[in-house]
């Protein structure tokens, strides 16, 4: 079901909502060989969650969300590789702050526009950042990428090991925090007003809502989360490439979210999970044609399930309910 705040319906966490966390812990215990892939999926889920907040709830359409992810990734990387700041939480805080600053500055400008203009402006921002990162080779490594990133043990205790155990749990905790914050926002009066803005901005103006400020606020929150996701990727890979700022990456994220289901919170979980597992398996089976399989999957979802994978699930559940006496 689509999840959103309501003045009439409670916001208690249902048992099904614990399922992803139980599954994630089960993977940690039962499938240790997949932890590096699992950590990457968790990072992408956090990133998709940040996009869902603005696209699914506030209706802000963007093709440049990778700007915040990429900035967070580079800030964490530069701190660890060039400035000797190796504490992972400090790196994460700096990445979040930088992404938040970029979010509030760019949001203040671009959220005065909408539609195609807004789409182009979001694209322009990430393209500018990509070019800056490409040219600032001394700082970012340019096209070769930024390597030699040092990440100290978390709390001085938990070292990032070669099997990816620490990284997986670290990403899982970060995602849990992101999910908790997102859920609170979505169910709050603020989140409910965002849905109002998405549904009918004209009416929200007419009831006295400061529409523009709310949009800038949620855009900044979302940018902060995306920056954290970027920092996580840097810390778990200890490498940053230019692709984190690319338009293709932003597009890929959008595809993942659409695949899972927009404006549902858990669509941001299902989309990256299915997309990346499919990518992993298809790339092994058909190294040259794996994108074809992803394309087919997306076409099927767009044609037959506009609500994404969770939309299909919704449909199935409601049919079963109707069928049962």
């Amino acid at each position: 079901m689509s999840r959103r705040g309501s003045y009439g319906v409670g916001a208690r966490i249902g048992w099904l909502e614990w399922l992803p966390w139980v599954a994630a812990l089960a993977v940690f215990i039962a499938l240790p060989q997949y932890l590096p892939l699992g950590a990457r999926i968790l990072v992408y889920i956090l990133f998709a969650l940040s996009l869902d907040l603005i696209l699914g709830y506030a209706g802000i359409i963007t093709l440049g969300h990778s700007a915040f992810f990429g900035l967070g990734a580079y800030v964490a990387g530069i701190l660890g590789a060039k400035l000797g700041i190796t504490d992972p939480l400090l790196q994460m805080a700096a990445a979040a702050a930088a992404a938040a600053l970029l979010g509030v500055v760019t949001g203040t400008v671009i959220l005065r526009t909408k539609g195609l203009t807004l789409l182009m402006l979001t694209l322009a921002i990430t393209t500018i950042l990509l070019e800056v990162a490409n040219k600032a080779t001394g700082l970012t490594g340019g096209a070769d990428g930024l390597s030699g990133i040092v990440v100290a043990p978390i709390f001085g205790q938990f070292r990032f090991d070669m099997f990816g155990k620490t990284a997986y749990l670290y990403c899982l905790l970060a995602l849990f925090a992101g999910w908790w914050v997102t859920r609170r926002i979505v169910y709050s009066p603020f989140g409910t007003s965002l849905v109002g803005i998405r549904e009918n901005a004209v009416r929200m103006h007419a009831v006295g809502a400061p529409v523009y400020f709310r949009l800038v606020a949620v855009y900044t929150i979302s940018a902060t989360m995306a920056g954290c996701a970027g920092a996580l990727l840097t810390q778990t890979n200890q490498f940053v490439g230019l692709n984190v700022l690319s338009f293709e990456f932003a597009g890929e994220l959008l595809v993942m979210l659409v695949l899972g289901g927009v404006g549902r919170i858990y669509g941001a979980f299902a989309g990256p999970l299915v997309y990346m597992i499919a990518q992993d398996q298809l790339a092994k089976q058909f190294p040259e044609y794996w994108y074809f399989g992803i394309g087919l999957l997306l076409v099927a979802v767009v044609m037959f399930a506009r609500g994404g994978l969770l939309g299909i699930l919704d449909l199935a559940v409601s049919r079963m309910r109707r069928a049962s006496p």
């Binding site: 003045y7 009439g8 009066p189 603020f190 409910t192 009918n200 009416r203 009831v207 809502a209």
Partner: protein, 250 residues
């Protein structure tokens, strides 16, 4: 006593086209006023200027004696200006209760809060339910607006505006497009609106206008043609010529 709503020499031009010209208008507290005129007379443009949706080319707007011409829509709403729309402008995918609660939460200053769930704001829900009950919409509180018949959707329009507890309410064709079987409920709702609210109603249905309004303002081609009591307007020859046709209303 100063009027609750006043305009002075209000003009709006779109390039060479003048859609409102030197409109001087006063609405007193508790007054029931109708704004009528043929299609294209500039009525909705006038309302949109009052609410701040359209910026006037010149002239001033006063709300409760204060100049609000430069103020944004949200600021005017907070000063007590509510409106409904000619075409339903609702949150179609949300429940009737949430449609009303969104406005009430804004008025109460809780809509921007981030931490507690919306459902924990019992006072917002309770006020919404009372308002819906007053408009016979209580049974539909949990229904999505898009699942309601059109007449009830028009009532939700009014409910949202009333939730703002306005001092001035602008009703843009509240009964437009409503089948006659359902329009009675809307008229009943209009009759039961609190007496202290000043109401400006734009309406083409003359039965509604003459039943509801204490005074009537007639607009033609962006200008105020005449203003008076229903009897004065009914007897005004210019109104018959430009708006009602030559046949007199008995």
């Amino acid at each position: 006593m100063s009027p609750v709503l006043e305009t002075r020499q209000l003009c709006k031009k779109f390039g060479a086209l003048t859609v409102a010209e030197n409109i001087d208008f006063r609405l007193e507290a508790g007054e029931r006023r109708a704004l009528i005129g043929p299609n294209g007379a500039g009525k909705t443009t006038f309302v949109n200027m009052l609410t701040g949706r359209i910026v006037p080319s010149s002239g001033r707007i006063f709300l409760g004696g204060d100049d609000v011409t430069e103020q944004a829509q949200a600021a005017r709403v907070k000063r007590g200006l509510g409106r409904t729309f000619q075409i339903n402008t609702l949150f179609r995918d949300l429940t009737v209760l949430d449609n009303v609660a969104l406005g009430i939460a804004e008025r109460r200053g809780v809509a921007g809060r981030l931490w507690r769930p919306a459902s924990a704001y019992d006072e917002v829900r309770a006020e919404s339910e009372v308002l819906l009950a007053a408009l016979d919409l209580a049974v539909d509180a949990g229904s999505r607006v898009l699942d309601l018949p059109y007449g009830k959707q028009r009532l939700v329009e009014i409910a949202i505006a009333l939730g703002l507890k306005p001092r001035v309410l602008l009703l843009d064709e509240p009964a437009a497009g409503v089948p006659s079987v359902e329009s009675g409920r809307i008229l009943q709702a209009l009759d039961s609106l609190p007496g202290d609210i000043a109401i400006l109603i734009i309406e083409h249905d003359m039965d509604v206008v003459f039943r509801f309004a204490h005074r009537i303002t007639v607009m033609v081609q962006g200008e105020v043609l005449v203003e008076g009591t229903p009897d004065e307007i009914a007897g005004d020859r210019r109104v018959h010529q430009v708006y009602l046709g030559e046949s007199r209303r008995d």
